[in-house]
Amino acid sequence: MISSTIREQFPILNQDINGHPLVYLDNAATSQKPRQVIEAVKSYYEWDNANVHRGVHTLGSRATDAYEGAREKLARFINARSTKEIIFTRGTTTALNMVASSYGAANVGEGDEIVLTLMEHHSNLIPWQQLAKRTGATLKYIPLQQDGNITLADAEATITDRTKIVAIAYVSNVMGVTHPVKELAEIAHRHGAVIVVDGAQSTPHMKVDVQDLDCDFYTLSGHKMCAPTGIGALYGKKALLEAMEPVEFGGEMIDDVGLYESTWKELPWKFEGGTPIIAGAVGLGAAVDFLQEIGMEAIHQHEKQLAAYAEQRLAEIDGLNVFGPRGRGVGVVTFNLGDVHPHDVATVLDAQGIAIRAGHHCCQPLMRWLQVSSTARASFYLYNTEQDVDRLVSALIKTKEYFADELG
């Protein structure tokens, strides 16, 4: 496992919350930032800040190099063929909306199908709902197994020649499920559809190779992978992006502007209207460096082991129900503690210095399928330890006792 000394690189982790050392287990919502990333953003503002792609002056060049350098790092990180395929966005939500409103509007028509699963995050569901409403297309859902997995047989049965888009999360933010994206891409392509992958929960935690997956679009959020908020990316195959219309028009993205007609810059800039999120991109580049120094395989294994340990320890608590498959491949563990409402669980854990998420996790259709109104979720990252899991378990036992007394 990754040495716990890694925590020293995350200043925020070194504090007490409500009189207890902080245990941060809300990484699926957002990750903490290592000093290296914080320093990169600070240094950018203290030394290199200028607008990109325009000024002749030295700072302008430095800012442009830093911004485009971050794009190169990210392209290598997910193994894109070229930096032309990497468009910086505000995050996964923006990236998915771009695909829906540009590619979707041009390629989806009445009677066509868009295929999803009902465990998609709202940001990989509502853009498609809206697209379906605008175009008269139909939404179809690949059914879920009891443990939240899907089967390829069900995918085969759902995806047809009328399917234009298959949109799916690589890793679920609730169920701890990893979807067979590569196989789904093959099925989608056989029917002439494209596959759009929500990579918000996969990119921070495992090696991602967009060429190997053969996905057409892949989206990610920086803030879940040690980078600042407000930066993310859309990957798209070059031929698809080239054929797509820009979503936002304005400065930065134009080639030539006339009174009645204008033309666009080449990829990737035609999709980056306005002054981009320069410092955010610099921070994302630094985060990529940081993660690669540790190694994505090491991070994946670390979290897998923590999840296995958490599954085993949580099973010791009578009345605690863990959702999702056993032996999960990722560090997302969602559960309910008997009759105690998840908000109450989260408040009592917070009083013991432990941060978890309680709520519907932006997955209301999935909550209905699970027949719960909300759940509690612990999610791990590279700086979490088995001791964190132990703290969680003993705090949950205390929570249970507390409410047994109060409810007794």
């Binding site: 009189g19 908000h343 408040t347 009083a351 709520g359 519907h360 109104s373």
Partner: protein, 143 residues
């Protein structure tokens, strides 16, 4: 942080033994309200006659704070005039802001005063009261 400030015994009693939980079969005024950030939802029904809240019931899903607050609210407003109910809702808002408020006629509600020390939970406590305001609003628009 003292959890007992939040989870007072009287709150847990309302959670475990909810008052006025259920629904009216007739077409009483019905307000549905969600807390979109956390998934709590409440359906409040009010029977208002001659400017008086004759009866109130609620159903829904939520944590101990939101559900006990709904239980207390429905108990408190029953028999009150619409104006008195609104005044109670305003006093409850003040309580959530940390102000000292006297609920002499319904002291259970004061037990929720500890919620203001838990900022993330204030929206739980106010859900039912927001439904009440919305209901009174709708009632007044109908007239």
């Amino acid at each position: 942080m003292n959890l007992d400030d939040l989870y007072r015994r009287v709150i847990m009693d309302h959670y475990k033994n909810p008052r006025n939980r259920g629904s009216f079969e007739d077409d009483a005024l019905k307000i549905e309200l969600n807390n979109p950030t956390c998934g709590d939802r409440i359906t409040l029904q009010l029977k208002v006659e001659d400017g008086i809240v004759k009866d109130a019931r609620y159903s829904g899903e939520g944590c101990s704070i939101s559900m006990s607050s709904a239980s207390m609210m429905t108990e408190a407003v029953k028999g009150k005039t619409v104006a008195q109910s609104l005044e109670l809702a305003n006093r409850f808002s003040d309580l959530m802001k940390g102000e000292t408020v006297d609920f002499e006629d319904y002291e259970d509600i004061e037990a929720l005063s500890g919620v203001n020390k838990f900022p993330a939970r204030i929206k739980c406590a106010t859900l039912a009261w927001n439904a009440l305001r919305k209901g009174i609003d709708e009632e007044q628009q109908h007239q």
